[in-house]
Amino acid sequence: MVKSGAAARDLREAQPGGRYGEAAKMLSSQEGNSFADLLATHAEAVISAWTDEVAHSLRGRLSHAELQRQVTELQKGFQSALFGGALDLADDAAAELRAQLSELSSLRARQGFSANETAVSVFTLKDAILRVVNTDDAGSLRDYVSFSTFIDRAALFTFDSYVRVREELIADQAEQLLELSTPVVKLWEGVVAVPLVGTLDSARAQVVMERLLQSLVDTGSPYAIIDITGVPAVDTQVAQHILKTVVAARLMGADCIISGIRPQIAQTIVALGIEFGDIATKASLADALRYVLKLTGTTKRQER
């Protein structure tokens, strides 16, 4: 529960020496009613002022008509929530408003707006209301402060939803990336290749290892080429992952060749003292394929 200044003052007025806690509401029922009245009586003015403010903050990236539609819906949402007796954003009566706010933020998140711009879309309601409030009257000013608290809560809620949607997006993309980035291609009869692109962390290395080993079993290929042309840097960690994959493949009865080692990477490998042992390493994929074909060719000749 938010113990903002206005809410806390409310509580002290209502219950002298009273406790803070779950009873604390953003608005008293009387404030809620006056807020609702204010929104209803000045609906037109609030909507147009609000739309202008939002349009200014978004710098014309959404059409005015589109913004006006969103803002009108939000205004109705606020109004019906308050008329429904919502004194706090967590109230049941505000459920629809919450749904509207999270829908707005997920829309903004997917359209690529920043968190700031999304939250400001709600915060600007305060400016819009300030224009219609009678600033000479101390009572309505005090009410305005309470309204502000309510709107702050709504904006923070929007911010939260925005972050949640963005995190979901990121998680989805990470998963898709993992699936996309580890293809195992068949180069020749009995030869598969894994072109590694991008940084190899533990999770990816695990996926690569499993995919490669499974495709060895599925295709019955005794040779695998691991091409690291697209790996930007090879440190001990990455080398460790590659070595593990090679040893696992050997245990299963397949030979691995590492190819695509760029000059700088070769120097890093030597500088770090990484030992590839008796694992064949080639400069290019073409060299690796030629090497494998030679091996299989020799095998064929000896069988004859």
């Binding site: 080993l213 019955g220 050997r250 299963m252 009865g253 020799t298």
Partner: protein
């Protein structure tokens, strides 16, 4: 106690492990194989572990012992069909099963044995010309 059957196919003994590899089963297999190699005079042993979900360090060591014993009796051993999950687990445990030859499946295992045998025969043979090198490495 369960026993793993040992099948003779031509010059090769085929062992397909279809049951859980308990320590006693592994030791029994080691004895059975040694006797069978002597009895049949086979020169190759293929151990198929494609049905095994778990290969612990004891089974790994037993496989290595089997390979060494067979070698003494002039038979090559190939372990075939290791599952990816098993291979990954062994690598994570740091067991690389040194001294054991492996192949992806029984067919490739038989090829490997035939090739090893051919090399051995060729070395034992008296022909002095090496035909493979010059043709390939000519600049």
């Amino acid at each position: 106690m369960d026993r793993v059957p040992v099948l003779k196919i031509g010059d090769i003994l085929l062992v397909s492990i279809q049951i859980d590899m308990e320590d006693q089963v592994a030791l029994q297999l080691q004895e059975d194989l040694a006797e069978k190699i002597v009895a049949t005079g086979c020169h190759g042993v293929i151990i198929d572990i494609s049905a095994l979900d778990i290969v612990d360090s004891f089974v790994g060591r037993t496989l290595a012992t089997i390979a060494s014993v067979s070698k003494v009796l002039d038979a090559d051993t190939v372990v075939v069909g290791m599952r990816p999950a098993v291979a990954i687990t062994l690598v994570e445990l740091g067991l690389s099963l040194p001294g054991i030859r492996t192949a992806l499946n029984v067919e490739l295992g038989m090829e490997l044995l035939a090739k090893a045998r051919a090399e051995l025969d060729w070395e034992a043979g008296d022909s002095g010309d090496d035909e493979d090198e010059p043709a390939v490495t000519a600049p």
